[in-house]
């Protein structure tokens, strides 16, 4: 059964879209990630124009983050003050990102920019995660618990504009979370992701937030950043396909339920190791596309300009 997507302007098999939503939903339920970094490349792969993939995926992430944040909010695992500061940066960053997206599209470099961002950031994050989970697995075997320092002082603790974040038990400069929010906001807009896969490690390793509040707070700010991207893409490029977003969401809701059941059967470091391998696989696929000789050196887009 085919359905014509009004904004993407193409006819797709409805079960393919539901299946994609389900599969990515399953993985996001299993690993506790948003899954945007898988869905956007998949959408581009099945022929959805990159701009529509990014705009629509932002819209879908709004929905999946709302449903994800509710559980964390109930358990009090959202640092609203930290989330607020991050999202101020995120708003600015994602606005810049949407603008950069339009500019890159104009000069015909958006496909390259999207792929480069994916390869660089998925490569870094995947590599770090794989390394970390491998160490954790080895440590679990040797079982010599090491005392970690509660707090490490680095140069950025000397920055001005200090703020107290009670839930995160932190007293740090607001410049750092603002900067992280800004940077991740740019990537969210360019890559069609929520940015959790960068935000979460940044919160743990750069800000030193306790892991219990990290995911909830990250989801909280992702809602607003992706809502901003959705709105700006809808206004500037009319590339948000509500029909596509809802279909993906329907599949993802189901998949996430199944995925979260399976999550309990695996150990934390095993989960992280598997996630790292998946991230690296996507990275390798896109990296290969960048260096492999394309089938046709020429490509076309409607409209003038260079």
């Amino acid at each position: 059964m085919h359905i014509y997507l009004p904004i993407a302007e193409l006819s797709v098999n409805i079960f393919l879209i539901l299946g994609m939503g389900g599969a990515v939903g399953f993985l996001s339920g299993l690993f506790g990630v948003g899954g945007g970094f898988l869905m956007t490349p998949l959408l581009i792969f099945i022929g959805v124009p990159p701009a529509v993939a990014v705009g629509t995926e932002a819209n879908q992430i709004v929905a999946s983050s709302v449903s994800g944040v509710i559980a964390h909010w109930r358990r009090g695992n959202v640092d609203f003050r930290m989330g607020g500061v991050l999202l101020v940066g995120g708003f600015a960053g994602s606005s810049v990102g949407v603008w950069a997206f339009a500019a890159l599209r104009e000069v015909g470099q958006i496909d390259l920019a999207i792929k480069l961002c994916y390869v660089v950031f998925l490569g870094i994050i995947g590599g770090l995660m794989l390394n970390e989970s491998a160490r954790a697995m080895l440590r679990a075997r040797s079982s010599t618990p090491r005392r970690a320092k509660l707090h490490q002082h680095t140069w950025f603790h000397g920055l001005p504009l200090k703020m107290r974040f009670q839930r995160s038990k932190l007293y740090i400069s607001a410049i750092l979370p603002l900067g992280i929010g800004f940077f991740v906001g740019i990537l969210a807009a360019l890559m069609g992701v929520g940015g959790g896969f960068i935000m979460v490690p940044a919160m743990i390793y750069l800000l030193g937030m306790p892991t219990s509040v990290v995911v909830g707070t990250s989801l909280f700010q992702i809602i607003f950043v992706t809502a901003n991207v959705t709105f700006l893409q809808a206004v500037n490029t009319q590339t948000v396909d509500i029909v596509l977003a809802l279909l993906l969401l329907a599949g993802a809701v189901f998949g996430a339920q199944v995925g979260s059941r399976f999550a309990g059967r695996l150990k934390g470091e095993e989960l992280r190791g598997l996630l790292a391998l998946m991230v690296l696989a996507v990275c390798a696929k896109l990296g290969y596309d960048l260096v492999a000789t394309p089938e046709d050196l020429f490509s076309i887009t409607d409209g003038g300009g260079h």
């Binding site: 014509y4 009004p6 709004v62 046709d296 050196l297 020429f298 076309i300 409209g303």
Partner: protein, 250 residues
């Protein structure tokens, strides 16, 4: 709904004007449908062109979509990765092009006639934009454009056959793929004798989005801020609902 009426009236007027001209002509042709509606279940459409001729000759039918600028980009290696390095814009490029003929195009008309009437992919009047363009580069980019259009099924690579019945009645079928552009298409039928056109007839074909999909598209383009806000509200509501379902299920 009003749009549908407008289109229906338009096609009626066109059909009537075609009918008036019919009496004194050696070629009459019409389409099975003057409106192709892109509905939610649209997966492409076949357009049937049929007609009658008088006397001996060859028939050629071309169909061209709405014309506009298309930018062609060429990739090259930049520090190891493939990036777009060059671009050329072609004005007057039809969004769709197909041709049908009773015999191979070379046998039907000489090159100058084919060029003038844009019969065949090689004879499309694509205008490269810019000054002092290198002729070889223009050819490369033009070929690249046509290759890509063929890959997207928007240019027909093959000349479709025309069935002729007892040297009088003819019909041909042109397939529009699911990714066709909307707008007014031009369907031209030529009746040629000894290589020159003795008669030609042009009929417009309207390709338009109809129904919910069309409304969504129109709304997204004319009230984009409201569309964006609605998209966010729907997403938030759907997310809430999903969390609620998830709690009920587990």
């Amino acid at each position: 709904m009003r749009r549908l009426w407008f289109l229906a009236t338009l096609s009626l007027i066109l059909a009537v004007s075609a009918g008036q001209a019919r009496a004194q002509q050696e070629l009459v042709a019409d389409l099975s449908d003057h409106l192709v509606a892109i509905t939610t279940g649209f997966t492409g459409a076949d357009v049937l062109l049929f007609g009658a001729v008088e006397g001996e000759g060859e028939i050629v039918v071309t169909m061209a979509g709405p014309r506009g600028d298309v930018t062609v980009r060429r990739k090259g290696r930049v520090v190891g990765v493939w990036a777009n390095v060059e671009a050329m814009t072609f004005a007057n490029t039809p969004a769709f092009y197909a041709v049908a003929a009773t015999r191979p195009l070379e046998a039907v008309a000489p090159e100058d006639v084919r060029k003038r009437q844009e019969i065949g992919l090689d004879n499309l009047a694509l205008r490269p934009v810019g000054e002092d363009l290198d002729a070889d580069a223009v050819t490369d980019f033009r070929d690249g454009l046509i290759r890509n259009k063929i890959a997207e099924n928007l240019f027909a690579a093959e000349v479709a056959p025309i069935n002729v019945l007892s040297n009088r009645l003819f019909r041909t079928r042109i397939t529009l793929p699911a990714n066709v552009a909307t707008g007014v298409y031009t369907v031209s039928a030529y009746y040629l004798r000894d290589g020159s056109a003795v008669h030609a007839q042009t009929t417009p074909l309207v390709v338009s989005k109809i129904g919910v999909g069309a409304d969504v598209f129109l709304f997204a383009h004319s009230y984009s801020a409201a569309y964006g806000l609605i998209a966010i509200v729907i997403a938030v509501a759907a997310g809430w609902l999903a969390a609620w379902i998830g709690r009920k299920v587990s």
